[in-house]
Subunit: 143 residues, 2 copies
Amino acid sequence: MTDIKLNHLAIVVDDMQAALRFWRESLGLSQAGEIKSVPAEEVDIAILKLGDAQIELIQPTTDESGVAKYLAKRGPGLHHLCLEVPDLDAKLEELSARGCELINEKPRDRDGRRYAFIHPKSAGGVLLELYEETSADCRAGGK
Amino acid sequence: MTDIKLNHLAIVVDDMQAALRFWRESLGLSQAGEIKSVPAEEVDIAILKLGDAQIELIQPTTDESGVAKYLAKRGPGLHHLCLEVPDLDAKLEELSARGCELINEKPRDRDGRRYAFIHPKSAGGVLLELYEETSADCRAGGK
């Protein structure tokens, strides 16, 4: 048994409107909210609902970000997989102890999201994000 | 509202045992069954449970298949996304009418699975498989 579940699947796009025409208009996925600008990550993001999970369409807004460089090198397509885990700190410690290379050794915290990336070297070529759902109380504890 | 859901996410690997060590042993996903050999596709497949959906680890067993060429060109990592749709024939007709390029214009049927691939050109760089759950009765109808 496992309590790991899909949080989102990120797709890097070079034309957000064209991507939305395919995923939303042609395929029929529902969009959650409007396109969101995330200047800290130099991207625009559109979220499509996929059951309890989401597809995130990510378009770089500069040429310098990691996502922009990925797009320039590999073209648009599947970018990363985000799985939700019950205890992110414990999972990162366990992965580290098993010799996995972590991009973020400690969870990052932004807008109430606690997450960390695992290096594709250790995850069979997949850029893997692990995510923990947190409540405001937990976050205030600074765990 | 949409009734499209994730069926599986396929990851191409160059070392199945190493991949299972990461996804199953280190990360903690449950494996469904044993590694399955699929000679018709020239791959071995291991299935990991992800809620109601699955992660499929795919390793080519020859150098000639599409998956083998993908692996040689792009390395291991996320390979394709499979979404379940309620009416595959209708969805393919609709996508075609909207100008999307289909790899399989009509659904393929194997082992009770009805599926068709959409060309990455039309799906923002993503190799997208659409899948319809079928009963034996429906399949016997040859629809």
